[in-house]
């Protein structure tokens, strides 16, 4: 019997993504981002999550697109990574899906260059593809680039 995994899914531009839902993934649309001038472009700024400082990552920039504007990036997906809290700013939050690992496949080759290193694979859903992101790579890629 193959294991089922639970993913929080969301949209950034036309892409449909999922991250593994572990304890503490939280979605919010009530937040204010304080920008950090001169910081890495992927870092949209900081958010106060009940007294904790959260580093907000602009998924548009992280995926190699233009920075979020207008109605983009209004949803924050919070998660914990190595003792620090981060959040992804995404365009639309979608339901949590429980998926069978047997339908998991390697990432397609037509992905943008910058997206490829953070995508671990893809689920073929009936009417679209769900790209699975690895949160630790989303974060570590930003700090690595600075060196």
């Amino acid at each position: 019997m193959s294991a089922n995994k639970v993913y929080s899914t969301f949209h950034v531009a036309d892409f449909y993504f999922g991250i593994l839902t572990m304890a503490g993934v939280e979605v919010s649309n009530q937040f204010e981002v304080t920008p950090a001038p001169l910081g890495p472009p992927e870092v949209a700024g900081f958010i106060n999550l009940r007294g904790q400082i959260v580093t907000a990552i602009d998924m548009h920039v992280r995926l190699g697109m233009q920075p979020r504007h207008g109605n983009q990036g209004k949803i924050a997906l919070f998660f914990k990574e190595k003792d620090a809290i981060f959040c992804l700013l995404v365009d639309e939050a979608n339901p949590i899906l429980e998926l069978d690992e047997s339908s998991f496949e390697q990432p397609p080759s037509n992905l943008p260059e910058r997206a490829r290193d953070i995508i671990s694979g893809v689920y073929k859903l009936p009417n679209q593809l769900l790209l699975i992101l690895e949160t630790h790579k989303i974060v570590s890629g930003i700090s690595l680039k600075q060196r």
């Binding site: 204010e32 950090a36 870092v43 106060n48 007294g51 400082i53």
Partner: protein, 784 residues
């Protein structure tokens, strides 16, 4: 298993405390060798250690402790008086024990090793006294005492074994060696009982003393967690307060008020749990002073004032090493040998004074000695030797500036590297460590001694900050960096922001303050772009320089809770942290030195030798002085012009110069400004090719409402000197004379003469000219 671990941890903590106390007691004992209570304390401590290590089966500790105990017992019953060699031997044994315990901490087991030599020397001393000569105490009495003791011990041992044996054997699981287990345990119990029997009276007395404030041990992590919660509480309170302002409900307001009071009380007391008296680290210093003094053959006494002054635990840790370093330095470099001190008319025993106190919301720790002071000529010689500075330059530096060299990494005046100092990793580490926690280091030195002042913030977690606005964002500037705040109105007739070699500077009370525009540095569009609006400047000090941060608005000051800036900002060193404002928004806290470094301000200032003169000037500022601007010409260095003749400092490109007849002119403020090449005044001086393709430094002065520009090679800074500087006779035209100012020969410009030379003033010379100047002026006129 877990229980064992816990017991072992308790043992390790206890041992650590014992060692610390022993260090202090031994040094005390040396000065009062007759103090029986003190010897009793030491004996008891060593005994406790021996007992507990026996329980764990740490044989090495047991043996060494036992040997020390034998020697101590002789001291206790007065067979010998303590002296240096006995103290040394005992301290050595404590060090040995400490080493073993440290290793146990990591290995969780006693390391192997051979302490036979130490044990034997201790026992030999116990047998025969420090030297071969025994003290007058009757040699016959000794065996009797120990015999009696042995007898008592045997008795108590037997009793204890009987008493405790059944209780202990029950839980003891390994059936193979029950006897051994019982033996070990009962051994320690026996000694504990013996101990309590012997010192019951004394112990009771001390316990009664401590009863009212019996401290308990709390895990540091728990305290940190509590601290975080309290910080959150403070923030929640802030939000509640702003909410309450808009509410008219009296009941609600009263509730909020009481929450406010409680939160404040909670925060205050929580802070107190983080506070520790500075004596916690000072307690190590008597031993340090003693050891270093002995090694260097000097006599040193240590005076501690304000040992109860409290500061944050983490800060305390980070100044431990700097203080240790400074004390070593003081003894090794500062305090002279007794003979030399005698020659100088000082007491043979040098004094190191530690003084801690509160001042302006900071903790000041002064470490003073009455030694020889910093050897300034030696420092400058070494600086030249190391190629840090040229001989000519060093001759012109003030003592203060020369002393600054000792902060450079790798700088040491010691010819030879000793175990104490000379490696050159001293003062730079001290300064770096202290600066890291937002403190400063200051040195005051003379041949009567040296005083090093550390200024340290009370705590790191909560600090006051100044908030400024830039665009529509708020930023916090730590108040420890802020010197003052200035609102600068650009007004006619007042110098505004001037350009100094590409750095905008502001003249503030005759000081040139370089400015950084936050909007520009952060790349934030200002909300209103109005060049005539007054400038809001926060004067800050960091990385050794003073500069002004220009913000769009200075908002308010507030106590803030500092939080981490997160792992993704490591490459952006301009923020030191974040904080949450009362309205729940996040605000970034600037790292002022990071901003200064990133902006390139520091390197620009270094290039122009600007910074040292600022600090020097600040030190010399006084009311009874005349101000001059110092500059260089080609072929003539250190020329001074009275500040009364300086309206502005400007910079022009060579391309912007036009020829008008025989004059060179530039456009300046809708006016035509004549340039006067001061180089022409210098004998044999020529400007050909010197200024090609370069920015010109120009001193602007208004003559009868018309601007005149003096072109010079390089402008340094304003300096002050007393009005009665002796001016020797004129050596060349345009110079009224020269004088020695701070060890440099400075030539003073005769501005009226120069203006006359260029037909800019009428022939009747201004009144400022004295007789001799009139003469030279006349000669020149007839020439031209």
């Amino acid at each position: 298993m877990q229980l064992d671990d816990q017991i072992l941890d308790e043992f390790l903590i206890e041992a650590e405390e014992i060692f610390d106390q022993l260090d202090i007691d031994f040094v005390k004992l040396e000065s009062s060798p007759e103090d029986k209570a003190l010897i009793g304390n030491i004996f008891r401590a060593v005994h406790t250690l021996k007992g507990s290590s026996g329980f764990f089966g740490f044989e090495r500790i047991e043996k060494v402790a036992h040997a020390s105990e034998s020697l101590l017992s002789k001291l206790r019953d007065g067979t010998y008086l303590i002296d240096v060699s006995i103290t040394n031997a005992l301290l050595q044994s404590i060090d040995c024990l400490r080493g073993i315990v440290t290793q146990i901490q990591t290995a969780r087991a006693e390391p192997t090793g051979d302490d036979t030599a130490l044990v034997e020397s201790l026992l030999a001393m116990a047998e025969r006294g420090s030297g071969a000569v025994p003290t007058p105490a009757t040699p016959v009495a000794t065996p009797t005492v120990s015999e009696q003791e042995a007898a008592t011990e045997a008795l108590v041992e037997a009793a204890a074994a009987i008493l405790t044996a059944p209780a202990v054997t029950e839980p003891a699981t390994p059936p193979a060696t029950p006897a051994a287990a019982v033996a070990t345990v009962s051994n320690s119990v026996r000694e504990g009982e013996l101990l309590s029997a012997e010192f019951e009276a004394q112990k009771e007395a001390t316990e009664r003393q401590n009863e009212f404030s019996a401290p308990i041990k709390v895990n540091v992590d728990l305290l940190d967690n509590l601290m975080n919660l309290v910080s959150e509480m403070v923030l929640a309170r802030n939000r509640l307060m702003s909410f309450a302002k808009t509410s008219g409900d009296l009941n609600f307001l009263n509730t909020v008020r009481s929450i406010d009071v409680i939160t404040m009380g909670l925060q205050e007391r929580m802070m107190m749990t983080r506070m520790q008296p500075i004596k916690n680290i000072w307690s190590k210093f008597p031993r340090l002073v003693r050891d270093v003094a002995q090694e260097t053959g000097k006599l040193v006494q240590l005076v501690q004032i304000g040992a109860d002054t409290e500061l944050d635990r983490t800060l305390l840790e980070s100044i431990r090493d700097p203080m240790t370093h400074i004390i070593r330095n003081s003894i090794d470099h500062g305090i002279e040998l007794p003979e030399i001190r005698h020659q100088k008319g000082k007491l043979p025993t040098g004094t190191i004074t530690l003084n801690a106190f509160h001042e302006k919301g900071m903790i000041v720790v002064e470490l003073g000695d009455d030694g020889a002071g910093v050897n300034v000529p030696m420092v400058s010689q070494k600086a030249v030797q190391m190629g840090l500075v040229t001989q000519e330059r060093v001759d012109r530096l003030s003592d203060r500036e020369i002393i600054d060299f000792i902060y450079l990494p790798g700088f040491s005046t010691k010819e030879q590297v000793t175990s104490l100092s000379g490696r050159g990793v001293g003062m730079d580490v001290v300064r770096t460590n202290v600066q890291e926690i937002g403190g400063t280091v200051e040195i005051v030195t003379s041949d009567a001694g040296t005083k090093i002042r550390l200024r340290i913030p009370l705590t790191l977690a909560i600090m006051p900050a100044v908030f400024v606005r830039c665009g529509n964002q708020q930023f916090a500037i730590p108040q420890s960096n802020v010197v003052e705040m200035v609102r600068h109105h650009a007004e006619a007739g007042k110098p505004g922001v001037e350009d100094f070699y590409g750095v905008p500077v502001l003249r503030l009370r005759d000081r040139l303050i370089p400015l950084l525009y936050l909007n520009h540095e952060l790349g934030i569009q200002p909300l209103r772009d109005d060049p005539t609006a007054p400038l809001n400047i926060v004067l800050v000090q960091a990385a050794g320089i003073l500069f002004g941060l220009v913000a769009e608005e200075i908002l308010f000051m507030q106590e803030i809770v500092v939080k981490s800036v997160g792992p993704l900002m490591k490459g952006t060193p301009i923020y030191s942290g974040t904080t949450i404002l009362g309205d729940g928004r996040v605000s970034l806290i600037f790292d002022i030195s990071g901003i200064a470094i990133r902006s390139g301000l520091i390197s620009k200032l270094m290039e122009n030798e600007f910074q040292s003169t600022i600090s020097q000037e600040a030190a010399q500022l006084s009311d009874e002085t005349d101000a001059f601007l110092l500059f260089d010409l080609h072929g003539l260095e250190h020329v001074a012009i009275p500040l009364a003749f300086v309206t502005r400092l400007e910079s022009f490109n060579v391309k912007d110069i036009y020829q008008r007849g025989t004059h060179d002119v530039v456009m300046y403020d809708d006016q035509i400004m004549q340039l006067i090449w001061l180089d022409d005044l210098v004998d044999g001086g020529s400007r050909d090719g010197l200024y090609a393709d370069r920015q010109l430094s120009v001193i602007v002065y208004y003559v009868e409402d018309k601007p005149v520009g003096f072109v010079v090679r390089k402008i340094f800074d304003i300096f002050h000197t007393s009005a009665d500087v002796t001016i020797s006779g004129p050596v060349q035209k345009g110079i009224s004379g020269s004088a020695i100012v701070s060890g440099k020969v400075v030539s003073f410009l005769n501005v009226p003469e120069i203006l006359a030379l260029n037909q800019l003033v009428k022939n009747n010379a201004p009144k400022v000219l004295d007789h001799s100047m009139n003469e030279s002026y006349g000669v020149v006129l007839s020439k031209s």
